[in-house]
């Protein structure tokens, strides 16, 4: 378990609908918090990496404009994209640059202003995150893609719609205590009850997924500052070390995917690499952030990460094992479902939560004495899998 590269600063904006500012101002909010957290000046930063999904705002090549606004010119800067996992990949690349000795301190900034376009336009762009030649012409969108997995998974594994509902109820439990979350309300089983005229989560979106099964769009930014061991000791009393990084890819087209009832395969591959590098296993993880863009995705993540046997992820939600007090707390910051999913900012936000947990600074969301934290961030429909493992000093 090498302790070569640490997170020394974290920052995140409030995740909101309709941020009243431009992308540079949004980015600055997360950056300022992370820089203050690490007690850095802009001269201390050697390079910056900017991460988002393209075509939400109109700025092409955003790294230049954002680096200027953050005061990080003339240091090197560039842009990284893997849709929903962009900022986790940014952290991976920042880690690699430091580990290679190119730089001492690297800023990774994820951002997304989704409210620049309508919800239907957003769905069209996410659909085009898949195969534009052979699939988007059918009118694809993210909820429908994940619903293909949900339909097959439910039919085979005895998972019920009530189990999916309970994943959302858990997310909302923590969205209420996370002041940065976009959805701060509670969710009860009655909100999914079709016999209840006020059931705000029950409306169908893409069968079998309902409104409450889908994550919340949001505007937001996140910032993770990485440093080598020498600088980490200077700037951060409680450095959080990157212990393992795993990544993998999947074929894009649904027609080339393996058995849908077995869930997203890319997480398993990424987790295997990350666990091996960190020299740990699933049982060693104290707290995890998983990519719950849809409720079904959280159940599949339990299995992909080895928290539950294949096909049996439902037991964890039924036993409340993934609640804050449970055996393996998952998404106790509200997750993508309630905290929100500003695409390019999401990975960095998940990592921030893990870092705060490992520093015992997560406030009302704090789990007891965590030693190892894990981040699971998926880009596209199980297209880019990223698992990153962190440990305390």
């Amino acid at each position: 378990m090498a302790k070569d590269v640490a997170v020394i600063g974290v920052g995140q904006t409030y995740f909101v609908r309709g941020y009243e500012g431009s992308i540079r101002e949004l980015a600055f909010e997360a950056f300022r918090e992370a820089m203050k957290d690490a007690n850095l000046t802009t001269k201390d930063v050697d390079a910056s990496i900017f991460c988002s999904a393209p075509e939400y705002d109109k700025q092409r090549s955003p790294a230049g404009v954002l680096a200027e606004y953050l005061g990080l010119v003339p240091q090197p800067t560039f842009y990284v994209e893997t849709v929903c996992s962009s900022s986790t990949v940014g952290v991976k690349i920042g880690y690699s640059m430091i580990k290679a000795g190119l730089h001492d301190i690297v800023v990774v900034l994820g951002f997304q202003k989704m409210s620049e376009i309508t919800s239907a336009e957003s769905q069209e762009r996410m659909g085009r995150g898949g195969d534009i030649q052979w699939e988007a012409p059918f009118g694809t969108m993210m909820p429908a893609y994940y619903a293909l997995y949900a339909q097959a998974y439910l039919a085979k594994n005895g998972l019920t719609l009530d189990d999916l509902r309970d994943v959302r109820v858990k997310a909302a439990t923590y969205g209420q205590i996370n002041e940065r979350a976009v959805y701060r309300k509670g969710v009860t089983p009655a909100d999914f009850d079709l016999n209840n005229p006020d059931a705000k989560m029950a409306g169908p979106v893409a069968s079998p997924l309902r409104v409450g099964d889908c994550c919340a769009n949001a505007d937001g930014a996140s910032c993770i500052i990485l440093a080598n061991a020498e600088k980490a000791k200077i700037f951060q009393k409680k450095p959080v070390w990157v212990l393992g990084i795993g990544a993998a890819s999947e074929v894009v087209n649904m027609a080339s995917r393996p058995d849908f009832s077995k869930g997203i395969q890319v997480a398993k591959a990424a987790a295997g690499v990350a666990y091996k590098m960190a020299g740990i296993g699933p049982k060693d993880v104290s707290v995890a952030e998983v990519h719950d863009c849809f409720t079904i995705a959280e159940i599949m993540a339990y299995e992909g990460l080895g928290f539950a046997p294949e096909g049996d992820g439902k037991q964890l939600i039924r036993e409340k094992a993934t609640y804050k007090e449970g055996r393996i707390p998952v998404n106790v910051d509200g997750g993508l479902l309630s905290k929100g999913h500003p695409i390019g900012a999401t990975g960095g936000s998940q990592i921030r939560t893990i870092v705060l947990q490992l520093r015992d600074e997560a406030g009302p969301m704090q789990v007891k004495d965590p030693q190892i934290g894990l981040n699971h961030n998926i880009g596209g429909v199980g297209l880019y899998g990223n698992v990153t493992i962190f440990g305390r000093d």
């Binding site: 012409p137 009118g139 293909l148 979106v205 079998p208």
Partner: protein, 135 residues
Amino acid sequence: MGFDKFGRKSFTSFTKTGKFVDLLAEGKVEGSICKQCGAKYFPPRADCAKCFSNEMDWFELPKKGTLETFTTAMYAPFGFEADAPYTMAVIDFGDGVKAFARLSKDFADPKIGVAVAVQPLKYDDGQITFEIVKA
């Protein structure tokens, strides 16, 4: 025909597999098969990822497959709103060949595992695609 004719709305103007659209117009839904190593691809490819050959032939999809999974979208992305709701699905022909498409409008009560087939579909505006029907 140009590939901009493919689907409800195409996002690709040209592809070396553009003949796919002409075949649809002739009533055939075909994939590509590598002349060198025999690898089969659906959707079709111009290049073989297994042996790097660019010598490809066409093969007709099997007459019957099973419905592997499906979803009915109640909302549609920008540009597809007029079609909603519609059902998208994956059909498994076995032997590693699958296809993704919409179910036909009149496909009642879809269930995983039922026998299905694919057939070309022409829209009124001249676009052409393929859809999944009961076998």
